[in-house]
Structure formats: structure tokens, C-alpha cells
């Protein structure tokens, strides 16, 4: 079942995430892909995450496709202007990639080349409209294409940033612009997430778009602290850090935490699925999904 069919049906959606290597070694991707095959519906391919140069997301997505996994290609506005974005989207469609996640992108100063020029020609909402325009058979110039690409459009949402209402306005705009599914930041603050979800359900936005909540299994308290301090827009409650600090076996505790989060999210009204982001710990995916009792019918 493709991701599009899964969104149209009522199944529980599971997305994974793979970070491409900082080299041209496609075997690294193939090895990581192994852990996701048969366990998830689709796998995100990050696009130069945290502004660090990596194997391109289009090429990585194609490699995953060859491995029999449906990729979700991420596309950020940091590295390309509107011309490059449209041509890359056409290229991706020609290679058989049909899912794209539109992001604004981390600012270049977060990466290892802070001296780079950020482009930010479009913002993520304008990128969504670009993809929607192309789905309608037009380029931004107005040129009518002979064949429309037909992308499934994804977007991101941050339920933890303030003010809540501004976040909902932005979510609303993304939906009007043409997003089909939404992936959120990893949930390390379930109460705040529940409050956001309640408002989303109140506005009826969960019926127009499939909301996939982010889950991130962590291996150590250090990772959590690093995310809290260094990753923009992340909220991590101190309870989680304490729990990891006091755990006898941090890895097992990390798995337990992820499983608990998944079960809590599954019970939340309006959540259509999860987006699992095992940062450099892809091998844990089958364990977590088995423990949480989630199996994806192929």
C-alpha cells in the first residue's frame, strides 16, 4: 500500500527517517534501509539536515526506491532558489519519487559551514504552493507542462513553539496551500502536544490533513541534552533527561520511553500516525515497533 492510499484509508501510518551519509557511499543507505523494510510505510530522506552537506536527498530517495522502500524526499528552501527547486522536483518525479516534504530549513550557521550564503528565496508555505502548482500542470512561470508530476505534499509543524495560535494559523495556511500530511517535531512534552492537538481537533484541521506525530528514540541523556540546547525549536522536559540519567541501561530505557510515547500518541484523538526518527540508531526501529505492537500491512 502506498503512502497516498494509506492516508486515504484509515490505517495507522508509520514513517521512518534516514539521514544520508557524508560521503558518496550508497551502501550505508542500503544498510540503514534494511532496518525499515516491512516495518514502515515510508521513509523520510533528510535534505542536508542541520545545514551539513550530505548525499543529496533525490539520489538517496532513488536508492531507497530500488531497495523497495517508499521514500519521502525532504526539500528545504535554504539551498535552492525557485528555479532549482522546480527543476529538482521535476527530476525527482522523473525518477519515480512521489512524496515530498516541504521545509524552510535550518539556518546555515547551525552547520559546519556557517560562512555559506542562505538562499531562502521561498518559504515553506510558498514551496508547498509551488508543488501544488506543478501538480496542477503548471510551472511558476505559468508554462503549461505536458505531464504533471502528481506529488503527495508533506509539511512540518512545531506544536511546542509559542504562541500556539500563530502555529495554528501557519498550519491552517499550509493546509490551504495544499499539504496532504503533516509531520511534527519529536514529542518530548506530551502535555503541550496534547494541548496543541486539542486545538487542531477543535478547528477540524485533523480531518483535512493526516497528522503524524514525531517520536525520537534516544540512547543517552547526553543526546537529549544536546537536542534541548542545540536543535532549534525543540522542547525536552527535564523528567525525560532525569529518567535517562538514572537508568541502569540507558538504551533499554530509551526504547521504553519511545514505546510509551507511541502508545500515548496512538490513543490521542486526531493523530493519524507516527514519524519515527531514530537519529543514527536505525537498527532499533524493528524492536520499538514490535514492542509498541504496530505492524504495517504490506
Amino acid at each position: 500500500m502506498t503512502l497516498r492510499q494509506k492516508i486515504e484509508s484509515n490505517g495507522f501510518i508509520v514513517c521512518g527517517e534516514i539521514t544520508p551519509p557524508q560521503s558518496c557511499d550508497g551502501d550505508v543507505l542500503r544498510a540503514r534501509a534494511k532496518y525499515f523494510k516491512g516495518y514502515v510505510d515510508a521513509v523520510n530522506i533528510t535534505d542536508n539536515q542541520t545545514a551539513i552537506v550530505r548525499l543529496s536527498s533525490i539520489a538517496s530517495a532513488r536508492i531507497l526506491l530500488d531497495e523497495g522502500i517508499e521514500p519521502i524526499m525532504q526539500m528545504t528552501c535554504r539551498d535552492r532558489n525557485r528555479l532549482a527547486m522546480q527543476s529538482d522536483l521535476l527530476g525527482a518525479a522523473a525518477l519515480g519519487i512521489h512524496n515530498v516534504l516541504c521545509l524552510t530549513g535550518d539556518y546555515q550557521t547551525f552547520g559546519d559551514q556557517p560562512e555559506a550564503r542562505g538562499v531562502f528565496d521561498l518559504d515553506s508555505i510558498q514551496l508547498i504552493t509551488t508543488v501544488a502548482t506543478m501538480n496542477n500542470g503548471h510551472l511558476l512561470s505559468g508554462f503549461e507542462m505536458k505531464k504533471a508530476p502528481g506529488f503527495l505534499i508533506g509539511a512540518a509543524a512545531n506544536p511546542f513553539a509559542e504562541p500556539l495560535e500563530m502555529r495554528l494559523i501557519r498550519l491552517h495556511k499550509k493546509i490551504v496551500a495544499g499539504a496532504h500530511f503533516i509531520q511534527t517535531q519529536p514529542v518530548f512534552d506530551p502535555e503541550k502536544f496534547a494541548r496543541w492537538m486539542e486545538r487542531v481537533v477543535d478547528l477540524g484541521l485533523h480531518e483535512k490533513v493526516a497528522i503524524l506525530a514525531g517520536v525520537m528514540p534516544v540512547r543517552s541523556a547526553k543526546t537529549l541534552l544536546w537536542m534541548k540546547e542545540r536543535v532549534p525549536g525543540m522542547r525536552v522536559r527535564d523528567e525525560y533527561i532525569d529518567r535517562m540519567n538514572h537508568a541502569r541501561d540507558p538504551e533499554a530505557e530509551g526504547v521504553a520511553m519511545a514505546v510509551e510515547t507511541i502508545q500515548a500518541l496512538r490513543a490521542t484523538r486526531g493523530v493519524r500516525g507516527i514519524h519515527l526518527m531514530p537519529l543514527n540508531w536505525e537498527s532499533i526501529t524493528p524492536t520499538i515497533l514490535n514492542d509498541a505492537g504496530i505492524s504495517v500491512a504490506q
Binding site: D106, D121, H138, L140, A161, M166, K173, A177
Partner: protein, 173 residues
Amino acid sequence: MGFSEAQVSTSQKRVKPGKPPWPHDGKAMSKRPIPARERKFSRVLLFFEDIVKVPLFKCQRCGECILSSTAFICSQNCPKRMRNGPCGGTGENGSCEVFPDRQCVWYRIYFRSRLLHRISLLYKFNRMHNWSLEGTSSWLNVLKKRIAPPIWLVRHDVQKVKDIIADDAATEN
């Protein structure tokens, strides 16, 4: 939604009118750079525009002014130059992800909009920036209908927000 006709009008002949619809605008208004004969006049007007806008709003002279829909705070002070709301990196107290000592521009815009009862304008889709208008007078651009005119008055803001949401629900079905 409450948008002026001009914003969604077609100006390029290659596109069938009304297709693709708002907000998938490939063609709204003129996207050409300003003609050479207007450049000098634009520069003169920009001089006066800067006197007003730079000290008051920290204007970045984008030439495509959306101050009226951002509660009179220039959104182009954002390092990512976001035109449609904040990015996902806003910190705990509304700090900017790039310069943590600064406040997120959109965080300020939100609270000012609430104060001025202009929240409904935050739902407005600001179209892709025409970079060829960078450093030109937006007053002249409004007169020449290259960009949308400012929206001065907003009536019944809360009702309007409700209408916008209801409209979207209606178009879905």
C-alpha cells in the same frame, strides 16, 4: 477568502484565467522588473519612503511592502526573510533561532496583531517575493499595480477569522 481580485488576477496570457487557482498563483500581477524610464522616479520616491519607513519600521526596502498585513512590523528583518509566519525554530520566549538575543519578528507580529485586532490578516497568503523589486519604491509599485495595495482597516476581526475557517471547510466539501 477576503482577498482582493487584483491579487489573483491573471496577467500572463499563457495561463488560463483562474487556473491554477489561489493560492497556487503562478501568475498573479506583473512579475516583470520595473521599466527603465520609471527607475529614476522610483529612486526619488524611495528617498522619501526611506525617511518614513526605515526609522519607524526598520524597513528592509524589499519593494513589495506587506507591512499592513504584519501589524506594521517589517517581516523582512527575519534572517530567513519569512513572509508567511514564523519558522519552526522559535525558542521558548520567542527568541530567534539564529540570533538568540533577538526576538522572533513573527512573535512580535503576532502579539501586535492581537493588540490591533488584525489577526485575520495573518491568514493572508503572501505571495512569492519578486526579487526584481528589491530596492525600489513600494509606493510607486502600488500605484503602478505591481503589488497589492495596503489594507488599512480591518472590521470585525474575530468574525472574519471564523469566516475564513468556515470558507475553507466549505471548499473542502
